[in-house]
Amino acid sequence: MRQDHLISASQLSRADIEAVLDRAAEIDADPAAWAAAHDRAVLGLCFFEPSTRTKMSFETAIKRLGGATTDMGSVESSSVKKGESLADTVRVVEGYADALVLRHPSEGAAKMAAEFVDVPVINAGDGAGQHPSQTLLDLYTIRENVGLDDLSIGIMGDLKYGRTVHSLAEALTNFDVRQHFISPESLRLPRGVRFDLHQSGAQVREHTELDAVLPDLDVLYVTRIQRERFPDESEYEKVAGEYQIDAQTLTAASDDLAVMHPLPRVDEIDPKVDATDHATYFEQAHNGVPVRMALLDSLLEDDQ
């Protein structure tokens, strides 16, 4: 990858994406061969918001490359609590680490952080903005299951605030993919993302119901609709209920449909779906390690 940082999926070309996915496949096939690939590297973890999968998979990834982590800990226990700016925090941690992984509640935080440091910055989620490393593992999972060209994907749920959705939609414009966006009217894709999709000439359709489009899909990517996005509980219950799937819903789908979810799920995918061949979300989560190993390898390599 020719990038210094990974801030947004829109910066990734098809060649960039394929290079990381190919490397991830090599790692997946023989993880032991990579055990000392970056044995002097230290990865700085700056998580200003809670995280389980992203943080743990980055930690595992650098350890499986032979490296180590340094972690600023929770906001409550760090100097952020004393009022330190993000710009200062990353300039300090830069001195302890060879690359930074940053999650922050403000949109644009990773882009700003990258302007203040010389080590690679990986955006691990900036508010309702982007989450490009999640996208790389999503694409890896799609490629492994159904391939990345001549594909119909349905992306459903909270498209407005869902950062995994924004990154995935933009990255998919590099491939021959028909994108169907399924959401309540109030949670449609934000104007900035629709602008990018339009500019790239992507094949995009928007729907408020899954039924009409489900039989045509190769992938259904489900995201959580969050309670706090709605003014009152009853409105949330009404809307969220329309975007939940269960084994019955999937009887209308193709046998080969892969159901994905960035996790955590609450009740948008019924646990009975887990036992079907459609369920791909745990495999997707596991792919976080080889894909993030490949990403770190690429960024640390460029930095040497």
């Binding site: 710009a87 403000s106 949109e107 644009g108 935080a109 508010g127 104007r191 900035g192 602008f195």
Partner: protein, 153 residues
């Protein structure tokens, strides 16, 4: 000299911003960061008749020659504006405004959750796109009423 030109007196030295869209003169001054406290002589004509625009605004700033990069930002709200540099009552230079590629430190991002609104040491930055501007940090697009987003600081 026609009647409407007399509404705003000629200046000896400085810059005349002409053919500003009617009603935008005060926003032009705001964009230029001119609020009177600099001690510059400033004359404003608003909604004066214009052959080209029907009605236009005119802004005259005495004893200051504005650079092209300063005035290009004006194109966002007054794309027809012309810039005349005046020396000893004569127009020595006449330019159109060009759309800049980026606008730094002028507009505030309407997304309250944008990092540029988070008390960090960073200036706002917008890329100029087809029909508006786009925050370089959070991607928010502003299409209408750009002048409402001029940062007063």
């Amino acid at each position: 000299m026609s009647d409407h030109e007399l509404r705003v007196a000629k200046i000896r030295n400085g810059t005349v911003i002409d053919h500003v869209s009617g009603g935008q003169a005060l926003n032009v001054l705001s964009i230029l960061g001119i609020d009177g406290s600099e001690g510059l002589g400033v004359s404003v004509g608003m909604n004066v008749p214009s052959d080209r625009l029907g009605h236009k605004d005119v802004v005259k700033v005495e004893d200051r020659e504005l650079s092209q990069s300063e005035v290009d930002v004006i194109s966002l709200i007054a794309p027809e504006a012309t810039i005349n540099i005046i020396r000893d009552f004569e127009v020595v230079q006449k330019n159109r405004v060009d759309r800049p590629e980026t606008v730094v430190g002028l507009l505030s991002c309407p997304n309250r959750n944008c990092i540029t609104n988070a008390n960090e040491p960073v200036e706002s930055k917008f890329q100029v796109v087809d029909d508006g501007v786009r925050c370089a940090y959070c991607g928010t697009i502003i299409r209408d009423s750009l002048a409402d987003h001029i940062d007063p600081e």
